[in-house]
Amino acid sequence: MITDARFSWLFLAVWRRNLRVYRRIWVINFLPPMLEPLFYLLAFGLGFSGLISEVVWHGRAMSYTDFFAPSMLAATVMWQAFLETSYSSFVRMFYQKTYDSLLATPLTVDEIIVAEIVWGATRAVIAAAAMLAVVAALGYAPSWQALAVLPIAFLGGLTFGAMGMAFTSVTSSIDMFNIPVFLVITPMFLFSGTFFPLTGLPAWAAGLASTLPLYHLAELTRSACLGLLGPASLGSAAVLAAFAAVFIPLSLVGMRRRLVK
């Protein structure tokens, strides 16, 4: 007796469902990633430039805004993907019972969860593209390599989407998401070489920060925007892929346990 496969291309149907819903409110979805860099760069460019003359990153001196603009791309990828597979997926699963109805179709738990994570990554790519357009127009992404931000955003989106889904699989109420947001995502947002280079931290803290996925994502977006992608970038990509390779199976195991009753 042949057993039906647990995974197939049918997962794209769930992905397309999310895209359809996203397109209905695309203006609301597009505005934050386009306005956010304007606000931040205005604030940091005007307000900070008197305080910080320049920043040194991997031995290169650059203006603070040159350093910071690519960080925003990385941070946006993280927030978009993580919030999608945490709060939004939880709402679909717990309040809207969408997964229950999907499990009466040929779809499997694995397909639904992978579709949600891939959708989170897609959302991250769309937001990164909108933001990149603004960042580049303002002159902060002078290299053609900046286009590599899009595949980088997809990889980072898978990583953070999988982390969000792993939390969702063990979360009993929507308020519980405050815990990963304030204990994991927010500290990562602040200490991953995003607002200042890691050289500004004591050695132990810099060592710790360099293990965080957002650090590697920010390294990648910065290298891409400045045309400095190189062998070290492959290392950063490998770290992101490793995080995804751990958290995707974790979220599948967690969700199978949660949804198969």
């Binding site: 197939s8 149907a13 469902r17 819903v21 019972k97 179709t105 009753k261």
Partner: protein, 307 residues
């Protein structure tokens, strides 16, 4: 495997489901033949929904065998669900989508091509009188419309077996009748249907065969009319607050009766005998009616409240 006429569309053999130390379904067996409507009846918590969930592979059975279209649900879940229509208890429509989109998107989960899905959605919207509402958003739908849309969605893949978990619970009489009319149309078109319900009168009218389950076991199975005849009889005499002498007499004479709160219900095939009983014990407080499936149900599952 191809289905022959003799082979049941669905066969449940000694299905068993435990959650920790709690046994939700304790060895349930039944079979559904092609083209029939089969009812699963039982009080709340009897194991109906769990049984249904085991059938479509939502909850894996702890023990026993479940075969749909001749395939085991454990190995053929995807092939089985491609040919199954499931209308779950409660509203699981997609609230982020319009009425029409709910149908189109659901069709895509079965791999149905866009153009084909549009044709089927248009047919179903007409069939369920939802055409004028196709652009409605989820929160603009009444309970009856939502349930009709649930049913339309469940048959978008033209299933060979339709599973309905309490399809009419919570609907007003108009919506309920509309829904039964549509279900009857589907049945006449040859659809095989498995349903759970609390509505005894509807089950009696609609189901070709049914089984009553309680405490996770099958308490009785058969054709509704035959079940009523065998388990209750043709008639029932209902008496409000009878004298104790009546119960004693019934007991001594070996006549079937039940108590329900202050009421006493006596069953029998001989109407004249029941009339005589009424004359003797309760000329004013008693009335005679036809026995129903509800009598059978209450006889088998007890009259106390299930909580």
């Amino acid at each position: 495997m191809e289905i022959t006429d003799e082979q049941p569309v669905l066969s449940v053999a000694a299905a068993h489901k435990t959650y920790g130390t709690f046994t939700a379904v304790d060895s349930v067996s039944f079979a559904v033949r092609r083209g029939e409507c089969f009812g699963l009846l039982g009080p709340n918590g009897a194991g109906k929904t769990t049984t249904i969930r085991m059938i479509y592979g939502f909850s894996p059975a702890t023990g026993g065998t479940i075969q749909v279209f001749g395939q085991d649900i454990r190995t053929g879940f995807r092939r089985i669900r491609a040919r199954l229509g499931v209308c779950q208890q409660g509203n699981t429509l997609d609230p982020d989508l319009s009425v029409l989109e709910n149908l189109l998107v659901f069709a895509s989960y079965f791999g149905i091509k866009r153009r084909e899905a549009e044709v089927r959605a248009a047919e179903l919207l007409a069939f369920f009188a939802l055409e004028a509402k196709k652009r409605f958003q989820y929160d603009e739908l009444s309970g009856g419309m939502a349930r009709r849309l649930m049913l339309a969605r469940a048959i978008i893949n033209r299933p060979d077996l339709l599973i309905l978990d309490e399809p009419t619970t919570g609907l007003d009489p108009q919506s309920r009748n509309t829904l039964w009319d549509r279900l009857l149309d589907l049945k006449r078109q040859g659809m095989t249907i498995l349903l759970t319900t609390h509505a005894m009168e509807e089950a009696e009218r609609f189901c070709d065969r049914l089984c009553i389950i309680d405490h996770g076991r099958v308490a009785a199975e058969g054709v509704p009319a035959a079940l009523v005849a065998a388990r209750a009889g043709c008639y029932a005499l209902e008496v409000e607050s009878p004298e104790e002498a009546m119960a004693e007499h019934l007991h001594e004479a070996g006549i079937r009766f039940d108590r329900s709160g202050r009421r006493l219900i006596v069953y029998g095939d001989d109407k004249a005998a029941l009339i005589a009983l009424r004359e003797r014990f309760c000329a004013e407080a008693g009335f005679i009616r036809a026995a129903t499936l509800e009598d059978v149900f209450l006889r088998l599952t007890g009259r106390e409240l299930r909580e």
